[in-house]
């Protein structure tokens, strides 16, 4: 069983945290493939076992990729919607938190357009399924959902964990172009704006876990892994005060335990690899990097 220190650190802080305070922001950073995602999943699992509501954004840079389904926002002229991604987000949310949000209902009416509107007091699940079926309004539904969650958290009804993987994509240009001419910056997407509002709000009982990834940058630009370099000045100014948590590479003990696990699962077949000498070789080849260890053990 592998338990990594950063996860323990965060869980420790979560236990001690006074949940009446406004939103606490954690920032996981580390070298490429050091295991940030792994620690995030660990923490998410822990929070789930404590019955928190999870709002996850598995890969924020997806919103920045080259996708052609962008439409204009009805309420604000300058922002762009992402219907497909919003739908995926809603589906994901519903799946994860089905049991927890059954009882809750919306507090205000949300008008999506002239004809369509959701009334006050309908269950949240209905709102979400409405968003899933009507993709045109999915982005607005996401916004409504976020507001609802904030209200619920403030009323001490739920505890909210927001995880965003790759938050440094919020301050980059997307690969998309408005009508194939003008470039769109991530700040012009409604989803990004909604999440930024959530992160800056003063809601109680909420924790945000973000991670900066060097994958977000172009292939040429991936050398840096430190948070201020990746997020830039805007990002740091926006996110502070945050708690930076480093996810280091494997230590010796961790490496041994991972290799034990591989051997136990019959992944490493070659007999030489199981000896002490072989392990030392593997350790050297992988350079203590979790992903590299995985790659090295694959052909064995």
């Amino acid at each position: 069983i592998l338990i990594r220190r950063p996860a323990l650190e965060v869980m420790d802080i979560l236990k001690r945290l006074n949940y009446n305070y406004p939103l606490t922001r954690f920032l996981l950073y580390g070298e490429m493939n050091a295991g940030k995602k792994f620690t995030m999943t660990h923490i998410m699992h822990y929070c789930r076992s404590q019955n928190w509501v999870l709002l996850t954004v598995p890969w924020a840079n997806e919103w920045n990729c080259k996708r052609l389904d962008v439409s204009f926002n009805h309420h604000k002229e300058s922002l762009f919607d992402l219907p497909v991604h919003s739908k995926i987000l809603l589906e994901d949310f519903l799946l994860k938190n089905m049991s927890l949000i059954k009882e809750f209902t919306t507090s205000t009416t949300y008008e999506f357009s002239e004809h369509e509107a959701s009334e006050q007091g309908i269950p949240l699940t209905d709102l979400i399924s409405f968003g899933i079926t009507r993709m045109k309004f999915a982005n607005d539904v996401v916004g409504a959902l976020l507001k609802e969650l904030q209200i619920l958290a403030n009323n001490d009804k739920i505890k909210l964990l927001v995880t965003i993987r790759g938050i440094n994509s919020f301050w980059r240009k997307t690969g998309q172009k408005k009508e194939k001419v003008q470039e769109i910056h991530a700040q012009q997407l409604t989803l990004v704006n909604q999440f930024m509002e959530l992160l800056q709000s003063d809601t109680k009982n909420a924790v945000a876990m973000c991670s900066t990834e060097s994958w977000v940058n172009d292939v040429t630009d991936r050398k840096s892994y430190l948070p201020t370099e990746l997020m830039g000045k805007e990002g740091v100014d926006f996110l502070e005060p945050f708690l930076p948590i480093e996810v280091p590479k494997y230590g010796n003990a961790e490496l041994q335990s991972v290799m034990d696990y591989y051997i136990d699962r019959r992944w490493i077949q070659a007999p030489e690899a199981k000896t002490l000498d072989g392990r030392a070789q593997i350790k050297f080849l992988s350079g203590h990097n979790p992903y590299q260890l995985y790659r090295v053990c694959v052909p064995l």
């Binding site: 802080i13 001690r16 945290l17 006074n18 009446n20 305070y21 406004p22 606490t24 950073y29 403030n154 003063d202 430190l226 948070p227 201020t228 370099e229 740091v236 100014d237 502070e240 005060p241 945050f242 708690l243 930076p244 948590i245 480093e246």
Partner: protein
């Protein structure tokens, strides 16, 4: 050219005609008629020499003596005085230089470059055989009686730097040609030690911004280079002018300098940023919550400016300020980020 032919003569005798021609000696051609008559009297087969007579003494072209066998260079001793051989600037004389020099391009790769005998290329290029070390030594000896000794105190670099804060560097270029001028020699570099001048905090940042790359902050030196004027003296004066301008401008403070924006700051000043407002607001909220006040979100927004109730000289805010400024100034490393984390934990009372 020599050739043999069978020729029929007028009296129907056949003789062998053996022609031997010599290219040089036209004057020595004998008369043909007389020769033939003499031979016919003998009525023997005789070889007919039209042009050449072996007995006549020919003028032989004597080869001149080979100059290369014995030149001055070959007769020189190894310990001779070179200054007497080559006293002044002179074109290259192959006979006087005892070096096996080669110069020139050959089309065929296996051939060596041409030697020094009669080599025009060696004459064309400038030579400095009049300025060898023995020459320089004699020159210096001649000048020495006019000089005084270099002060021994100034041999120490620190003392020099302290006493002479201004360092002027110029370059002279030597060439062996018709003209001694070189356009590169107009460049002047002036290195200034700024620690002798008075600077306060504002003027240091200002002169750093004005000078840019030319100034070294840590060592407090300014390096001014100029070659924009045609004459060396003018370049030096220009450098002095830039120095005075930089110094006096940095002492002055303009009104519009106060409007400097965050992106231009040399050091991160937390007091003027938005983050201060954020932190104070956060602190205010924490205090409110801790003291058990019942506040809704709506009412807290409409409350008075939080900075009134929260004193910003408090311990955890100060530590946050220093940690955050450190993070911004020095970039992120494990230490700065750790310090920042500790300060945030302190702020959240963990």
């Amino acid at each position: 050219m020599a050739s043999r032919r069978l020729v029929q003569l007028s009296n129907e005798h056949w003789i062998v005609l053996n022609i031997k021609r010599s290219t040089v000696h036209h004057l020595q051609r004998c008369c043909v008629h007389s020769r033939i008559k003499e031979d016919l009297e003998d009525e023997n087969f005789k070889v007919l020499n039209i042009l050449r007579d072996k007995d006549v003494k020919r003028f032989k072209w004597e080869k001149p003596p080979d100059v290369r066998t014995l030149s001055r260079a070959d007769c020189m001793k190894t310990d001779m005085n070179w200054t007497s051989v080559w006293p002044t600037k002179a074109p290259f004389r192959w006979g006087s230089v005892p070096l096996p020099i080669r110069q020139g391009y050959r089309k065929k790769e296996y051939k060596l470059s041409a030697g020094k005998y009669g080599n025009a290329e060696l004459v064309k290029i400038p030579n400095f055989l009049h300025l060898t070390p023995p020459h320089i030594k004699t020159h210096c000896q001649a000048i020495k009686k006019f000089c005084t000794e270099f002060p021994s105190e100034l041999k120490n670099r620190e003392i020099r730097k302290a006493n002479f804060p201004l360092e002027v560097i110029t370059s002279d270029y030597v060439t062996c040609g018709t003209s001694i001028r070189d356009p590169r020699s107009r460049e002047v570099t002036v290195n200034v030690d700024l620690s002798v001048l008075k600077f306060d905090e504002h003027s240091v940042t200002k002169i750093k911004k004005l000078a840019g790359d030319k100034m070294d902050e840590k060592a407090m030196t300014l390096q001014l280079k100029s070659d924009r004027c045609p004459v060396r003296k003018q370049n030096f004066d220009f450098n002095v002018y830039t120095l005075t301008a930089l110094y006096y401008e940095s002492q002055e403070k303009e009104d519009w300098e106060d409007e400097m924006e965050e992106s231009d700051w040399v050091k991160y000043q937390w007091d003027k940023t938005q983050s201060k407002k954020k932190i104070l607001k956060l602190k205010h909220r924490i205090q409110q919550i801790n003291s058990g006040e019942k506040t809704d979100l709506a009412s807290s927004v409409s409350k008075s400016d939080p900075s009134v109730s929260v004193v910003d000289t408090e311990d955890d805010i100060q530590s946050y300020k220093s940690a955050f400024s450190n993070l911004k100034d020095e970039g992120d490393s494990r230490e700065t980020l750790n310090a920042y984390k500790q300060s945030v934990l302190k702020l959240l009372k963990l």
